[in-house]
């Protein structure tokens, strides 16, 4: 259905409420944070209003650079893992019987009800030496003795992928259900094996959806600060962990704000780059 563009000021009426909510709960806090990032820290108290670049200057060090680099690397890896796992899974799910689909979707939704803390401690138990999954492998005779799998990068990656996978599946699901099943049948009649038809038809036809999902999981993973602390070593801590540390334990709000603003800018920049690259690919 096509409707006329709003003409008068009153036509924008329905937008007042959502716009108001957005301003009060998003624009104002974010503006406050930007302002605070230029304030001076008061060691005896909180902060004093000022306009200095010290907080940003302090951030430009090798240490924080490495942390930022690691955070982006971790988020990208989680995003790729999630999409690589979720696309074939969701494709098979969307072709399954209605009942099977509902059961899987309910199971996935129930993962969403778990808090990050519970996911973190559950995985830290599963990865432990005394009660972890390696004990099972020992019982099966695959390993000689149980080992601790955390803290490690693998543990952080596994838990974060586990946490983000339901979102990934739920974002991909509608697009895959809408995909015309005769497309893969056509590919098969034209000589493509089922696996080949998946990679030459399903994946390319869903390119835009997959890129959008990658961006979503990437941003979601960038904000994670509990799992790296529970399951990782200090070198696996992300920028979000440091922001929390500065804001809550060091009471250095201006510096935490500066890091947060910087993180948002870097994220926006990367997303913009992806979108531009996607546009170019489409035009070609």
């Amino acid at each position: 259905m096509r409707r006329e563009a709003p003409q008068k000021l009153t036509d924008y009426g329905p937008l007042v409420f959502p716009a108001g909510m957005l301003i009060v709960f998003f624009v104002v806090p974010f503006a406050t944070m930007i302002a605070v990032s230029f304030f001076r820290r008061d060691p005896s108290g909180f902060y004093t209003p000022d306009f200095v670049f010290d907080n940003y200057a302090r951030f430009l060090s090798l240490f924080f650079g490495k942390v930022l680099g690691f955070s982006l690397f971790l988020a990208v890896t989680v995003a790729i893992c999630c999409v690589v796992l979720a696309v074939p899974f969701t494709y098979l799910l969307s072709r399954a019987k209605r009942r099977t689909q509902v059961l899987w979707l309910v199971a996935l939704l129930s993962i969403l009800s778990l808090s990050e803390v519970i996911i973190g401690f559950a995985w830290s138990t599963l990865f432990s030496r005394t009660a972890g999954i390696t004990n099972l492998l020992v019982m099966l005779g695959i390993m000689d003795q149980p080992v601790a799998l955390n803290p490690s990068f693998g543990a952080v990656l596994t838990a974060m992928t586990y946490q983000a996978l339901p979102y990934t599946v739920l974002v991909l699901y509608p697009a895959l259900v809408r995909l015309d099943p005769t497309l893969t049948e056509a590919a098969r009649t034209l000589g493509a094996s089922p696996v080949k038809s998946f990679f030459t038809v399903v994946v390319p036809a869903l390119r835009n959806t997959i890129v959008a999902t990658l961006i979503m999981v990437f941003i979601f993973a960038l904000g994670s600060y509990l799992l790296p602390q529970i399951l990782g070593r200090p070198q696996h801590w992300t920028l979000s962990v440091l922001i929390t540390d500065q804001a809550i334990y060091q009471s250095n709000m201006p510096f935490a704000a500066a890091m947060a603003v910087f993180l948002v800018l870097v994220t926006l920049g990367l997303v913009a780059l992806t979108v531009i690259a996607g546009r170019k690919g489409e035009a070609a």
Partner: protein, 344 residues
């Protein structure tokens, strides 16, 4: 034997039998139409030939080789789907070249073949267009070209023209038939449109509720329908009860001399096409009836006559316009050669 042979094909979905004991031989290079109402099993039968569904029992043979369990992508066939199923992320040229690319054909050769096919479907120069920018008829042609890119052994089309408007559909029917004759490719088309089947096919296979009711040349199907379903489904017809004794057959309360009925048959149904019902002055024919309605369509005139409690339709051309009006009494002349005795 070269061509496609279906032996005793059965397909069940749970309790429901979609295809029942189908036997069919399609000689190499012929054009066969599977015709029937929706839900008659014709699409299921074609999907089994394509390998997209597996028969519950029975065998499918192509050029003498059993292909019943050969997966679809190894059957070397071309298929056009009802939805066309053109790949939205590829251009016209890439769509047509898909089967060649999958088979690892070189880029140069792909391009040559695509150009060849594009000129065949009168779309030269369209290779780089996205498929979304094409009209319905053009998309139809691209789907046909894509299916023919590898010169398949078998060309299958599932309701290929149903998305087109009436005029374009008629033109495409002729074009498709001419293309098939030029390429000499064994072709099976699924359709519910009897005009389409009559236009294109060498053999029309009429199906109903999972069974083949009659498989014959289009004119044969029309002139000599095997049973009441075929007679009723193909074109317009008059289905009239008859009774027979040793002396001859009686229709509408009058004897039809010369109508031969299988020995021992006491009663049954005959089919008479409306153009074979001749109206005469009352008294000049054995049966007399009353005109109830006249539908003058310009090209043809349909006259509805009630005789012996039965509605009979007669079709005549304008140059032989019967000078009748509603309520008038007319004679009905039936030629014994035009009456087909049907299997009950």
């Amino acid at each position: 034997m070269s061509g496609l042979t279906l032996q005793n094909i059965v397909k069940q979905f749970g309790q429901f039998t979609a295809v029942k004991n189908v036997e069919l031989t399609v000689p190499h290079g012929t054009f066969v139409c599977l015709l029937g109402p929706s839900g008659c099993g014709k699409t299921t039968l074609m999907r089994m030939v394509a390998g997209l569904d597996l028969p519950t029992s029975g065998a499918i043979k192509l050029d003498g080789k059993d292909i019943t369990n050969v997966p679809t992508h190894k059957r070397d066939l071309g298929m056009v789907f009802q939805s066309l199923a053109l790949f939205p992320h590829l251009t016209v040229g890439e769509n047509i070249a898909y089967s060649l690319r999958i088979r690892g054909v070189g880029k140069e050769e792909q391009k040559k073949r695509v150009d060849e096919l594009l000129s065949m479907i009168h779309l030269t120069g369209y290779a780089d267009r996205p498929v979304a920018k094409l009209s319905g008829g053009q998309r139809q042609r691209v789907a046909i070209a894509r299916a023919l890119a590898i010169s398949p052994k078998l060309f299958l089309l599932d309701e290929p023209l149903s998305a087109l408007d009436a005029k374009l559909r008629e033109a495409m029917q002729v074009e498709l038939r001419q293309l098939q004759q030029r390429l000499g490719i064994t072709t099976i088309v699924v359709t519910h449109d009897q005009r389409e089947a009559m236009t294109m096919a060498d053999t029309v296979v009429v199906m109903n509720s999972g069974e083949i009711r009659q498989a014959a040349a289009p004119v044969e199907i029309y002139r000599r329908p095997a049973d009441t379903f075929v007679a009723d489904f193909i074109g317009m017809t008059n289905l009239i009860d008859f009774s027979a004794d040793g002396a001859g057959a009686h229709v509408l309360g009058a004897a039809i001399p010369g109508l031969s009925v299988p020995a021992g048959l006491k009663s049954g149904i005959i089919s008479v096409r409306p153009e074979d019902v001749h109206l005469t002055a009352p008294g000049n024919a054995p049966v007399t009836g009353t005109v109830t309605f006249v539908r003058d369509l310009g090209g043809t005139i349909e006259t509805f006559v009630e005789a012996a409690g039965k509605q009979i339709v007669a079709v005549s051309m304008p140059n032989a316009r019967p000078d009748v009006s509603v309520g008038q009494s007319v004679g009905i002349q039936l030629n014994p050669d035009d009456c087909v005795v049907l299997k009950s």
